[in-house]
Symmetry: D2
Amino acid sequence: MIKEDDVITFWIDMKRTYLIKVKKGKKFGSDKGAINLDSIIGLEYGSEVTLSTGNKAYVLKPSLIDIYNGLKRPSQVLYPKDVAYMIYSSGIQPGDIVLEAGTGSGFLTISLAYYLGEKGRVITYDIRQDMQEIAKKNIELLNLTDRVTFKLKDVREGFEESNVDAIFLDMPDPWNVAKHAYDALKPSGSIVIFVPTTNQIEKVGIALKNSGFIDIHAEELILREYQIKENATRPKNIGVMHTGYIIRGRKSLKSST
Amino acid sequence: MIKEDDVITFWIDMKRTYLIKVKKGKKFGSDKGAINLDSIIGLEYGSEVTLSTGNKAYVLKPSLIDIYNGLKRPSQVLYPKDVAYMIYSSGIQPGDIVLEAGTGSGFLTISLAYYLGEKGRVITYDIRQDMQEIAKKNIELLNLTDRVTFKLKDVREGFEESNVDAIFLDMPDPWNVAKHAYDALKPSGSIVIFVPTTNQIEKVGIALKNSGFIDIHAEELILREYQIKENATRPKNIGVMHTGYIIRGRKSLKSST
Amino acid sequence: MIKEDDVITFWIDMKRTYLIKVKKGKKFGSDKGAINLDSIIGLEYGSEVTLSTGNKAYVLKPSLIDIYNGLKRPSQVLYPKDVAYMIYSSGIQPGDIVLEAGTGSGFLTISLAYYLGEKGRVITYDIRQDMQEIAKKNIELLNLTDRVTFKLKDVREGFEESNVDAIFLDMPDPWNVAKHAYDALKPSGSIVIFVPTTNQIEKVGIALKNSGFIDIHAEELILREYQIKENATRPKNIGVMHTGYIIRGRKSLKSST
Amino acid sequence: MIKEDDVITFWIDMKRTYLIKVKKGKKFGSDKGAINLDSIIGLEYGSEVTLSTGNKAYVLKPSLIDIYNGLKRPSQVLYPKDVAYMIYSSGIQPGDIVLEAGTGSGFLTISLAYYLGEKGRVITYDIRQDMQEIAKKNIELLNLTDRVTFKLKDVREGFEESNVDAIFLDMPDPWNVAKHAYDALKPSGSIVIFVPTTNQIEKVGIALKNSGFIDIHAEELILREYQIKENATRPKNIGVMHTGYIIRGRKSLKSST
């Protein structure tokens, strides 16, 4: 049942999906019609509501993809397809402790906090206080504050933790953090790095190899959306051709040679 | 520390990655050399070991991708890239209860069990007993038995549960299960379906729409692997061009019209 | 040397490339500056010119891709990547005679006329006179009139030619033309068909098979554009994810069975 | 009608397509059956023939894709999808004169010779005599000798021609040839370069820009083959994920600055 202060997905149609915080006395408006948020309180998730125009809308429990679409984000954030694979390929499980740099708008942070569950912890580093303030608000909005620790520090100078389960990097020069990441990781733990340009693939891959990581993979995911229409099903014409590359490796206890 | 009966990843190189159960007195052999498994017991994950040939290898904690590569699977299983996105886009969280059909070799089952954590539950249906026996063994191997319930039943006749958080379908005619899935799902809950052929996209999409689902998306993921090599970094030449399509939707409480 | 009435490519930058007919006394204007076309007459192709604003521009001989970008086209036209492969895979050579339906805005017609050379002929069918008028003007503009014959007729009732080297179809229901195409083609000649949706692939493929065609292939081309930038080379973010599918086959003299 | 010494495509099925020279008294054999080539002489292209096993086969006029599949080639050759787009985007027409380096096994040479027609000329450079001997034989086999001139020379020392219509490069370090290519090209003429790795894109692009080329594009084509099967049409599972990148530009008469 939806209560005041809950964050919900307000779904009018495929192009009009909003993330809103339910507040008494507040009104939500769009080009398809408006609704008084009071009327949403007490409804079951999934319910149909009627807008001022007579159009129908639905109240849904926010998924991570809804959060991606609705999040306040002054900076470019990672795409769901990439976040999904980064988390999956890292091997993390509920209850794990992971490091992240940089925080950015906090979308990867939120996704990690979701997956790690109540006992898990994300420690997220950034060098920009203004960005972390935005990320903090995003994380508060979603009631995930207990799972996240913010640190305002340049990880090129090292992490403060050790023996963590996985490390996620989305920053301009991750090769400068490879050695620090190795030190902070639990043996056999994963590092997962996102970079947007081709020359970074090589730099990251070589830095990982030289820092004691093994099982190094560089991968790219292309997502195609399909239009479903009777006798006219086909991929959508225009879309995202490129986001970036995911490079991952695992900490080995290599004997020095 | 690695104990007897632990399932470990035995990593020799990128093409020689094995999932093995550590047993006293047993030997592991490959074209790159052999090792007595006794010598692995007591080692820390990440440790380097030396094969009979002098070659080095590493003992790692199995990730889901290792499990994918090493799992006993007489049938085609879903690819990690697809499983990652199916789980992510479903919005499930640790502790949730989900349904799955069919079980197949159990790779999606295992991935779900990992993500749902100790408090989560996967109820998985199949019509083939022989397949479920294999899946059961795979799940036992990974010590996930407590999180999984097996049912030998045709879901085209309906699910036995209700109010579940999400439903995952990987079966030849999922359109025949759309209505039953709707009935078993919690409002706002997700259905996520995998199909290999183009004409199935349309059939599934239309069935979902006609069964009360909204926010219906059909997507496809193409994964490109890159070779990392100094001054010669490029995508690998040959690879998997196609696995299938992922169609998802959410249960709405639509007023009948 | 550029003469009056020549059609040239006027290149200001990657996003400002125009196809213009050089006329005395006329002026060309853009947001980057203007130029009197008189000043272009007599220049060598490749020359640099200065716009009213001081910006530089270049006069180039139009390539087929320039024509694609600059052509008057009320309807969607085939993309260069698809036209290139359709022509190449058809096996046609200079001097050949080919059929096409429908004409549309004439971009494939123009491409065929270019490749077939002075001795080649394109006979192009359409059912819409208004479209053929536009195509005719496009073909006149490029001085290719001698190579093209226009026919206003529904090819579902058959072609008027026989023994042609290849047939190209870009129309909604090409399966209804497979048998007529077979009759009009020279044995061993190619049919090449473009369709935008997935269900059409199957319908076309089966119609070709049932009409005596062999060596039937269905293919799709995805083109990724790259941004070249020092230390930041990468695919462009947004692009064309889908145009359509190319299905081709060759006429065999199969004994009836 | 097929005569002795003609090169034909012998098509048994999608996986058994052969390029053979028809010789009296010779026999062609495959795992699907054999045939005496005498029986092919005098047949019309497209004809059905019966193999020793009773299986059917077809004699076809070789297309460029047949030649690609059947060509003797000790080195990796460019793929048809890339050759098609390289030629198309170059803007060349029948009768043009083009340069190529390196010759390799001659597949691009053959494709160019086909498109340029009887009046066109390809001048092809390579530094390896053994490769050019193979290419020569391939070109002789296809009766294209009159259209091709072979030169055994390192183009990094310059081309011997000037005012050519287009230049095609498929060699390890094309950036070292950009300036020579500029000198040999007709103003407004195209250079089209193929490279397999990501770091080469940037090097080539910058070299072209610094050598007076404009309208520089870097592109990549991904081809997906589809299986056509009733109710089971879908992309083929395994395929070529990567061949290389195509970079092209046009010679401008830039004022030096």
